[in-house]
């Protein structure tokens, strides 16, 4: 394997909170030397030299919520298109939901899926693939799946994917058993009965549009209940794509109380609100739904003060057939993995977050939450890296995505921040020039 020397790069390492101009050498798939001096590293004679022109070298993104669609939905995404999309977005590791067909509730299924997605797709674009195990058999929400076997097979947590574990007894058992296995339980916090038939956030706009509302209380109820259970069971509870002010307040209080609680959100909840639905455009049909402006502001506060630990793309690609429908019949979801970084940089350019925070939220923190090795620039760490021009502006166009799905609520949005290269274990998996 060749070695690569990055010269004149601005290295930002959220793990050590350092931000410095210097050089970085990667050898044998790992970061072998870091220097803050120009010419401080003498590279091996065959090393490839990349002049960074003071652009940012950051840990590759770790996207902790991705619907792989494989196996079972090749019309929405294939392993290859997913890997290409991730690499273009500077994402070096993805964590897949178990809501495939068949469901990842079996250890052999889980292993083979990770192998399939990571290795066999296309070595040129290979990225690291992890998966959550199904918390319940067949995602039925009632009977616990084989959490121990799934854990041994490499699962990095347990979840019921796009549905909440709504049965309180089942949730208690899952939390308790996962605590024993030292694995997090990832919850889609939405009371399915209260939210039944819901099409968008419940509020003035749902009333005007005549769309069935999903109240913010649907999220609040599940989080409040789960926290009550967690006090009994102990363990690590993680709320996925948190979207409401009430939910964030509960997490903030739970952290203060000392419970082992974490949460993530996704760019739409930080950047858009329910007014976007006004023309019944199904690109804005998401789950959870786009919320009230006050909720969006609470998400920004939660990101800034650390209540929200991570940001995932919530990549949930949908094909045209299920998006070209009246709003309420369209499938929720969007293609998000290629735009995660650029959209998060919007929050940096807008003055809401520091660059360090943006990178921590999308790389180091997800790694910490799930116990993964990436997310840092330190000697000995895997060379999972992204070279980023944070100022380069471009316009989001779903048509140009590598992902099979071009449906994005950010269609046409101007953003700043382009990935110039992505490396996984020292191998370049994305080069915009090729």
């Amino acid at each position: 394997m060749t070695s690569t020397l990055f010269k004149h790069v601005r290295m930002i390492d959220p793990a050590s909170n350092t931000d410095m101009i210097g050089e970085c050498l990667i050898e044998h798939g790992k970061i072998s030397q870091i220097s803050d001096q120009s010419g401080g590293i003498t590279p091996p004679i065959d090393a490839q030299i990349i002049d960074g022109n003071a652009k940012i070298l950051a840990p590759g993104l770790i996207d902790m919520r991705v619907q792989s669609c494989h196996p079972g939905a090749a019309q929405k995404e294939t392993p290859l298109t997913l890997a290409q999309a991730a690499a273009r977005g500077g994402v070096t590791s993805i964590v897949c939901l178990p809501n495939t067909n068949p469901v990842l509730d079996d250890p052999e299924m889980l292993k083979s899926q990770c192998r399939m997605l990571a290795g066999l797709s296309d070595p040129v674009h290979a990225i690291k693939v992890y998966a959550y195990g199904a918390a319940t058999s067949g995602l039925n929400g009632e009977s616990m799946a084989e959490l121990g076997l799934l854990s041994d097979a490499g699962a990095v947590g347990f979840t019921n994917a796009t549905h909440a574990i709504s049965n309180s007894l089942t949730m208690r058992r899952v939390l308790s058993y996962a605590a024993m296995l030292k694995q997090p339980v990832i919850q889609h916090a939405e009371d399915p009965v209260l939210a039944a038939g819901g099409e968008m956030h419940e509020g003035e706009h749902s009333m005007r549009l005549g769309l069935k509302g999903i109240p913010d209380a649907a999220e609040e109820i599940i989080i409040a209940r789960d926290l009550a259970l967690l006090r009994m069971t102990g363990g690590h509870y993680h709320v996925a794509h948190i979207s409401t002010a009430k939910g964030i307040a509960l997490i903030r209080a739970a952290k203060a109380e000392g419970l082992h609680v974490t949460c993530d959100t996704a760019p739409p909840y930080a950047l858009l609100n329910d007014i976007a639905v006004r023309d019944y455009d199904s690109r804005f049909r998401l789950s959870p739904p786009l919320r009230h402006e006050n909720d969006r502001l609470a998400v920004l506060d939660g990101l800034a003060d650390g209540t929200i630990d991570a940001v995932a793309s919530d990549h949930s690609p949908q094909d045209r057939d299920v998006k070209s429908l009246p709003f309420g019949l369209a499938e929720p979801g969007y293609s998000g993995i290629e735009t995660l970084l650029a959209l998060m940089l919007t929050l940096y350019h807008g003055g809401h977050l520091s660059l360090m925070q943006v990178l921590a939220l999308t790389s180091y923190h997800p790694a910490q939450i799930l116990g993964l090795s990436g997310g840092q620039i330190t000697v000995g760490a895997p060379a999972d890296l992204a070279l980023i021009d944070i100022d380069r502006s471009w316009q989001i166009r779903g048509q140009t995505f590598a992902s099979l799905s071009g449906s994005t609520p950010f269609e046409g949005a101007p953003v700043q921040g382009r990935v110039l290269g992505t490396w996984v274990d020292g191998t370049r998996v994305f080069d915009p020039k090729s």
Partner: protein, 339 residues
């Protein structure tokens, strides 16, 4: 009966007196302005004044498709009749028995129908926003004949026409809209329209059948019907939309009638000559006592049905007028080499 015959200045027999709408389609009342609404109503008055067997030819050569994804008798028949009276050809696209119900998407259906070059598409669909979606895929002008819980613009227009026929004005009237507001497109369209025309609107509904944000639309909200009926000139009842309800939003029909069913006793709390309206079909003994529904002095329900045809003639004509004007402009542009 005191139905004041219209003082309409519009000549029903003159196709050039048609009203131009601001948009190619009629998808909702929201966004229309008062002059447009007023002239559309005036035009409809002139059609209502026509002799029953009068046949017009304003839409001769045009084709109107009606496509109803939800069952309907009166609205569909009303559009059908209105189009025929205007001289158009009408095709009622059967949905229940066609491939459309067998999983063909709305857009595929739209593309298929569009290939047959209809001039006007009248659609009812169970999902809010469906008519807007359809309008993006067809060359025809689209009339929304009801989309989910969103809007039903011709119903609101016919209600306004009915009130004007009977009272001669709408400005300043106190109008109560009662019943299942949450699931009602008629309520939303009527709130928009009657607001445009200057009425004072209140809604009367149990807490489970009205979103509290309804007051953002500029209406007063009452949960107690007896309190809400004080000083009201018109009581508009809405159908309990059982097919659009999920589970029990009210305890029982018996209890609903007890609290929100209109009886002569409750009506006596409104203004002395207060009138009753209902978009139909009625659930007698649920929204209204049967005896009151048949009281021709107080109930405008049959007039509403009658006015439905006149208002739809005006709407069809307005959209056709718009289409023809656009085509004329397009061909002129082509002749002049403008693309």
């Amino acid at each position: 009966m005191g139905v004041s015959k219209s003082k309409s200045k519009s000549d029903a027999t003159d196709p050039m007196a048609a009203i131009a709408l601001p948009n190619r389609h009629l998808l909702g009342i929201e966004g229309l302005d008062r002059p447009t609404v007023t002239s559309l109503l005036e035009r409809a008055h002139s059609f209502a004044d026509l002799a029953p067997r009068e046949q017009l030819t304003h839409l001769k050569g045009l084709t109107v498709f009606t496509i109803f994804f939800e069952n309907s008798t009166r609205t569909r028949v009303s559009f059908d009749l209105a189009a025929r009276k205007m001289g158009a050809s009408v095709v009622n696209v059967p949905v229940a028995t066609s491939s459309i119900k067998k999983g063909e998407s709305l857009i595929d259906t739209a593309v298929t129908l569009n290939a047959m070059h209809p001039d006007i598409l009248v659609m009812r669909h169970q999902n809010s926003g469906a008519s807007l979606l359809l309008s993006k895929y067809v060359n025809a002008a689209v009339i929304n004949a009801g989309d989910g819980r969103h809007e039903h613009p011709t119903q609101a227009l016919l209600d306004a026409l009915t009130i004007e026929r009977r009272l001669g004005y709408i400005e300043g009237l106190n109008i109560a809209i009662c019943g299942d507001i949450a699931n009602s497109r008629v309520a939303r369209s009527n709130i928009h329209l009657l607001s445009i025309l200057g009425a004072n609107i209140r809604v009367i509904s149990p807490t489970t059948l009205v979103p509290k944000q309804i007051t953002e639309m500029g209406v007063d909200l009452y949960h107690d019907m007896e309190e809400g009926l004080h000083g009201v000139d018109i009581v508009m009842l809405l159908r309990l939309q059982q097919e659009r309800m999920q589970g029990a939003e009210t305890p029982s029909q018996r209890e609903y009638f007890h609290r929100y069913g209109l009886t002569r006793e409750k009506l006596s709390l409104a203004n002395p000559e207060a009138l009753i309206m209902h978009p139909g079909p009625m659930n007698r003994g649920v929204e209204i006592s049967s005896e009151l529904a048949d009281d021709v002095e107080r109930s405008l329900i049959t007039t509403q049905v009658e006015m439905g045809v006149a208002i739809r003639m005006a709407c069809l004509e307005a959209l056709a007028f718009g289409l023809i004007n656009r085509e004329g402009k397009d061909s002129k542009d082509k002749a002049q080499g403008i693309s």
